[in-house]
Symmetry: C2
Subunit: 431 residues, 2 copies
């Protein structure tokens, strides 16, 4: 028995107790299946109520409103860097000089793809040659991490090397060793604030080390995907680290390319993405962008300026998101605790922000848990999704995305998931 | 003297008459400079009055309107192919099955860049290897043509080979010879309807030949940039040629990739771009797109559906554009005729649609004309811009973009331009 919960520690059970528990769990699982659930906790999508918070955007800027502060007609071509007054809002939020921050189209994923595409087609400043001409390009991936990052790298033929995420961010000692001597290692991808899926925030110390460490590749690049920069769930809010300042001070001004977006602030599919970097990185990006764009959607930029107003407007808006999301995350954490606490079959994080809870089940059972859940009508992100090539070496990590479904569905889904976690753990001990 | 106009044919003048005319033109040019003009006829931008036609878009879809016809919440992620009801409108206009036509972001230039980037990074279906791995990639460019096409090809390191534009489209005999034996020739870029700058429409016969001709490169690709598909200036409207049908019937289903956009229908900077192709080309595009996008701006798609309604709605809207543009093109043509008709110093086209008038001056004088105009405060597109590498071998072509300025400014600018054309022609004869 666990001292704290009175529930059995599965690893401590003898054969008879295991068999009894197995039978109980099979009954529980059969009952779960009999409910005919159709629940989905797979993707980090905002819920309709969150999208409703930005409902005025649908009527903005309004029929007579199309002039930017400097008189620009936002309806026409031009303005490759994006609307200055919108850039100013995010420059303020992220602590970046406005000249070094651009507003783009609707998706930061697209901007990140473009940055990698430009590096492959043309090279970064300082690249010996375009990356597409290199024999091999390798990349450091902290794990668990964001599946779309890994999928893009794999699609580009980049070989992924993993390091562990720690509570302070990626294992910077391991990174420093990898980049020091190997010029094929061209980069690193990070979600620095409330990471996907583990919720860790990269500390100022780790960021400073990333900025300062020597790298064999002259064009070593950190893609700083600050997707959840303002997406707090508690009063203990992570602050933006000034990585561009750190990098400049360390003599590696072009090392970081910073990304953010309003996808999970306003509309997931119709927001605005941002790119920031050193003055020369911004110039590099614009130089290549100019061949494939005459400018981003400035009307959507203006629409966002009218709605968000300023950095405090964004902060106030994000507080309303928090009010919607806190009960959902609470439902996940409460249910996990009630069902799995003290059983020794799972650990999980308590996120202070972002969009996910990262659940580690008994080693070697994550795939089985996801399979059991699927067969009970509970869709989970595939096991291994948070690892390069979909391969979780310990087969233990499951990403829970609680933002989209209603609270009652989350409770049911996580309760069902807990049954699957326990059942898989017992099955493993019996096998 | 010209029989028709009573104006002198410059080439026929003797030395004394030339000297007299030169003095007269120098006076005229001095008077032009003295006016201190600041006129710009450089870029194919819609005018504010044209943008005003789409003013309701600024308040659409409206605060309570975000559901697509199939119930999709347009505000959220997803829907990589674009909103079906918007795709249906352009499928109707272009005569393409809706399954083969996608709605994308705001810029067809961006979609075209992405298609080339995917070809370079990953190859097209049937490519022996990604284009970026080829020793040499060559491309056929009908001239004069669109400067942004040429600039993008040059930036990608593609070697450009020119063929002439004819009144029926590009010189297809020359193209067929070039592609027959040379596998390094990977493609051809065309503005098939009311081309930039010459206004020619590629005939059904030329299109059929392009579809049917054998090509040494298995992945030979025609980028069919139908930017002005519905941009008529007369009742003699060019019809869309069914190139995808022709290509499929000729056994080269994947040869064409078709592009269009609402940039010059609704808002130049906030419209919607479209891509179409064979089912396998569309699948190829989506397969790569999926790594850098979770879906386009579906709210902007819905906004356009609400405003344009259907294909007839687009046609009616384009008629309102025509009412604005006809007097502007008329001012160009009338002024050119009044000042240069019968002088033997220039020829030009009478466009039935599109955004440009293409002016050919005396061989070897286009750069001088542009220089003279600039020094008189009239900004023209740089001479040579309509040719690869900015090199017009006969130094004679000047692109006139009359859509943006008001009619009275156009008259003044073209009148001044005519003085420069005549002065440059006389200078050349005297030199």
């Amino acid at each position: 028995m666990s001292e704290n919960t009175g529930r059995p520690v599965v690893a401590d059970l003898d054969a008879a107790a295991l068999t009894t528990l197995h039978a109980t769990l099979l009954d529980e699982y059969a009952a779960l299946q009999a409910r005919g659930l159709r629940l989905d906790i797979t993707r980090g999508k905002p819920s309709p109520e969150q999208l409703d918070l930005a409902q005025p955007l649908l009527g903005l800027p309004g029929e007579d409103d199309f002039r930017a502060a400097d008189g620009t007609d936002t309806r026409n071509y031009g303005g490759l860097a994006g609307l200055p007054e919108l850039r100013a809002i995010y420059a303020d939020l992220l602590g970046i000089p406005v000249e070094q921050l651009l507003a783009s189209g609707t998706s930061s994923l697209t901007v990140m793809f473009d940055v990698l595409a430009y590096a492959f087609l043309f090279g970064r400043d300082g690249s010996p040659q375009p990356w597409g001409r290199e024999e091999k390009v390798r990349w450091i991936c902290p794990v668990p991490g964001y599946d779309r990052h890994f999928a893009m790298l794999e699609h580009l033929g980049i070989e992924m090397v993993t390091v562990d995420q720690t509570p302070d961010g990626p294992d910077v000692e391991a990174i420093a060793r990898l980049v020091a001597d190997d010029p094929t290692i061209k980069g690193l991808w990070l979600v620095p604030t409330y990471s996907n899926p583990g919720g860790e925030t990269t500390s100022a110390e780790v960021a400073a080390r990333l900025a300062a460490m020597p790298a064999a590749a002259p064009d070593f690049t950190v893609l700083w995907d600050n997707a959840y920069a303002v997406h707090h769930l508690t009063d203990d809010e992570s602050k933006a680290v000034d990585v561009l300042g750190l990098a400049a001070a360390s003599g590696h001004p072009d090392r970081f390319v910073v990304f953010a977006s309003t996808s999970k602030v306003t509309f997931a599919g119709a927001g605005v993405a941002f790119l920031a970097g050193s003055p020369s990185t911004v110039a590099w990006y614009l130089r290549h962008l100019a061949f494939g764009s005459i400018g981003p959607d400035k009307v959507n930029h203006l629409r966002h300026v009218r709605f968000l107003r300023d950095a405090d407007g964004v902060r106030a808006h994000m507080h309303r998101h928090r009010e919607i999301l806190e009960p959902k995350f609470g439902a996940v954490l409460d249910t996990l605790d009630a069902r799995l606490g003290g059983t020794g079959t799972a650990t999980w994080n308590t996120p202070r922000g972002g969009y996910f809870v990262s659940l580690d089940v008994v080693d070697g059972t994550a795939r089985r848990v996801v399979e059991l859940a699927r067969e009970a009508g509970i869709a989970l992100t595939p096991a291994g999704a948070s690892f390069p090539y979909g391969h979780d070496p310990r087969d233990r990590n499951i990403r829970i995305a609680p933002t989209f479904p209603p609270v009652d569905e989350i409770r049911v889904a996580i309760d069902g998931l807990a049954t699957c976690v326990l059942l898989a753990a017992v099955e493993q001990r019996l096998s």
